[in-house]
Each structure stands twice: as structure tokens, then as C-alpha cells.
């Protein structure tokens, strides 16, 4: 999409170029959760912005503050339409299960590589965290989805202090992660 050639009406709705980039990153994040193919997500993102820009040219939003919601809904609709289209085009043969078996999960090398990079980064940062309780908290809460009461009981915490302790652990994790790795290496799908 050519941001330079956007019409004045749309420009006033989108704000600065920085605002536009932020909106685009947000829409890409949503679409990457909706569709597995990064290239398709990128296409749908561009399409969502094209649709919204055309709408803004015809008629500005009554409530400019709802632009993010309007963009998000447009992106969701496009992803849904794409899923329906894919389902319609699916070739049905008597050997469907055999055909499905040929598609290995995680067969996209770039996605596999990214997952590996991300996992290594998380492991290195967790290894660097000096407080073992921080690591236990993050693993039990974010990986095992254990109940707060259970974690508090095992780690000798009161439920009142759980948020504080978890917030600190998460902040220490974030600081280490940001100091060791570039954001685009970890969140490249969303920032693409």
C-alpha cells in the first residue's frame, strides 16, 4: 500500500505515519493469529487498509476514535471470508485422508526457524534469571496454566502478593529479554 499517496481525508483519520505503522502492526498481529500463512496475512492486512481507506474517502467515520475497531473488524471479516473461500475450493476425493497426511504440521521452514529462535531466546533469558522462584512462577503460570491458589500454596506466597511477585518476575524477564534480543527477532510475525 502506498501510504504517501493517501488522500487528505484518510490522512487526517489515520494520524501520522507512525500511527499508521502502529495500526498496521496491530492488524498484522490479529491476522497472524487468524491465518497460518504469513504471506496471506500480509495480503489480507493490505486489503483491510485498502477497504478502510476507500470507505474513508467516501465518508469519514462519525467517531474517529473507533478507527481501530473498524480496522480490526474489517480484518476479521477478510480472514473469515478467506477461510470460507478455501473451504469451498477444497478438492474432495476418495483419498482425502491420505492427501492430508502429506501436509506436515510446521512444514513452513521460516515458521519452524522462528519458533526455534524464540524458544532459544526464552531459554537463555530464563537461565539468566538469578531467582529460581521467578522461573518457577513464569513456567507454572504461563506454560502449565496452574491456578493462582495452587502456585501461592506451593511457593509460600499469599494471594494478596501474587500480583506483585508475578509483576516483578515478568518485568525482570522483560528487561533481560529486551537487553539481549532485538524485538524483531522475537516478534517478527507481528512487526513484519
Amino acid at each position: 500500500m502506498d501510504y504517501e499517496s493517501r488522500p487528505p481525508a484518510a490522512a487526517s483519520e489515520f494520524g501520522s505515519d507512525a500511527d499508521l505503522r502502529q495500526l498496521r502492526s496491530g492488524i498484522l498481529f490479529l491476522l497472524h493469529r487468524e491465518v497460518a500463512d504469513p504471506a496471506l496475512a500480509d495480503d489480507l492486512c493490505n486489503e483491510a487498509f485498502r477497504i478502510v481507506l476507500e470507505r474513508l474517502r467516501r465518508q469519514p467515520l462519525e467517531e474517529p476514535g473507533k478507527l481501530a475497531a473498524y480496522l480490526a473488524q474489517t480484518a476479521r471479516n477478510l480472514a473469515l471470508a478467506d477461510r470460507r473461500k478455501t473451504a469451498r475450493r477444497k478438492t474432495v476425493t476418495g483419498e482425502q485422508s491420505a492427501i492430508d497426511d502429506f501436509v506436515a504440521e510446521g512444514s513452513d521452514p521460516s515458521v519452524v526457524a522462528q519458533a526455534q529462535v524464540r524458544a532459544n531466546a526464552i531459554r537463555k533469558v530464563l537461565e539468566e534469571m538469578p531467582n529460581i522462584r521467578d522461573r518457577q512462577l513464569l513456567v507454572r503460570f504461563y506454560l502449565n496454566d496452574e491456578a493462582k491458589a495452587e502456585i501461592c500454596h506451593d511457593l509460600g506466597l499469599t494471594e494478596e502478593h501474587f500480583h506483585t511477585v508475578m509483576f516483578r518476575a515478568r518485568e525482570r524477564f522483560r528487561v533481560l529479554l529486551d537487553s539481549r534480543f532485538a524485538r524483531q527477532d522475537l516478534y517478527c510475525l507481528a512487526i513484519a
Partner: protein, 215 residues
């Protein structure tokens, strides 16, 4: 909310609210990205069998170079010496300065409001001398970037505004802090409202706490 979103446990309305905030609020999106990276990374590590070693007590100290260990010991010794030195200085200073009007600081910790008829979140009994009330508010794991604080006196009549503070920030502990001289709060019930800032449609709703001050 972020965890439930990433686990696909939100209903359609909640999901739309979260996704609107992801698109319109970069700070919130970074929180979601961090959580997703952490969750996905941990899952991948578990698949590779690399989570369990992370939860064991570390023995890395003994694999460090002798120079690093020696430097650590020297630093520790210097720290202890400095601490002892300052303790001696403080004792000497205490002997010289003995103020009868010491400042009383009371820390009031507010958890997420319980609502209903459970009574006030915090009750504080006034001291004989004015105290500095160090109010700390736990606003959960997904705080906004800042908060405005409004304190109203409540009772049988209409609420009366007592204090307004703008742009209270989040401490390193994830708490919103506000210091108030107790002289400005007479005995009674108070409603304390924390408004997320900047105020946008994407921000979560305000949070309300209650305080009772008794004689």
C-alpha cells in the same frame, strides 16, 4: 484478560474489545506479544524437554572463571566494609539528632476492590500526630501506562471531592502509589477511583477502592 485471549477463552464481545485495544494501543500490544512469545517459547522448550533443567537450582557459579569468582569476593568484602562504615556513621548521627516530631508513615495496601457489602477495602485508625499515608494500589497484571486518582468522601449525602492527583505512575512492584497527609482526610468513608491514562476507548475501566478512617 491477555492470557484468556491467547488461550481463545474469551467470548466474541470480549475478544473484539481486546483486539481493538491491540490495534489502537501499542503498549498493550507489546504486552500481548511478550506474553505470546513467552507462552510459545515455553511450549517449544517443553516439546524439546528443556523446561525441567530451568527449574533446578543453578550450579553455574563453579563453572565461572577464577577471576570472576575473585572479583565477586572482593566486591562482597567491599560491600560489607561500606555497610559497617555507614552503620557506624548512622549511629553517631542518631546520637546527635533526636527529634521529638518524627514523621509517621503508614502504608495502606489496596487490593482489587471486593465490592458488595464487604465493608471498606482498608480501614486506618488515625494516629495522635499527622501521618504520611503511603497508599499502594494493586491494579493487576495488565496496568495502564499511568493513572489519575480521585478521592471522594462518601456517606449519607452526595460524594464530596477531596483530592485529585494526575498521572500517578506504576512502581517497580507494579503498584500505583500515592502519598497523602492524613490531616487532609477526616474520619469517615472515602471512595478512591483510579482512572487509566491516557483515557481512550481502548483502556480498561476505572478501578474503585474504599477507605475508612476512624478515630
Amino acid at each position: 484478560m491477555i492470557d484468556r485471549y491467547l488461550a481463545n477463552h474469551l467470548n466474541d464481545t470480549e475478544r473484539e474489545l481486546v483486539e481493538t485495544r491491540i490495534v489502537g494501543d501499542p503498549g498493550f500490544r507489546h504486552e500481548v506479544e511478550l506474553t505470546e512469545a513467552l507462552r510459545d517459547g515455553l511450549r517449544e522448550l517443553q516439546r524439546q524437554g528443556k523446561v525441567a533443567p530451568l527449574l533446578k537450582t543453578r550450579t553455574w557459579m563453579w563453572r565461572r572463571s577464577p577471576y570472576a569468582i575473585a572479583a565477586s569476593i572482593v566486591a562482597l568484602a567491599l560491600g560489607v566494609a561500606t555497610l559497617l562504615h555507614y552503620q557506624r556513621l548512622e549511629r553517631a548521627q542518631d546520637n546527635l539528632v533526636a527529634s521529638p516530631n518524627e514523621l509517621v508513615v503508614a502504608t495502606l495496601r489496596f487490593e482489587q476492590t471486593r465490592g458488595g457489602d464487604d465493608g471498606p477495602d482498608v480501614t486506618w485508625q488515625r494516629t495522635s500526630v499527622p501521618a504520611l499515608l503511603d497508599m499502594q494500589f494493586d491494579i493487576g497484571l495488565e496496568p495502564a501506562s499511568g493513572y489519575g486518582i480521585l478521592i471522594d468522601r462518601i456517606g449519607a449525602e452526595a460524594a464530596v471531592p477531596v483530592l485529585q492527583a494526575n498521572a500517578a505512575s506504576i512502581s517497580a512492584d507494579g503498584l500505583v502509589s500515592l502519598s497523602v497527609n492524613s490531616a487532609s482526610l477526616t474520619p469517615g468513608d472515602y471512595r478512591i477511583r483510579l482512572e487509566p491514562q491516557p483515557l481512550t476507548p481502548m483502556q480498561p475501566d476505572s478501578t474503585v477502592y474504599t477507605l475508612r478512617i476512624t478515630d
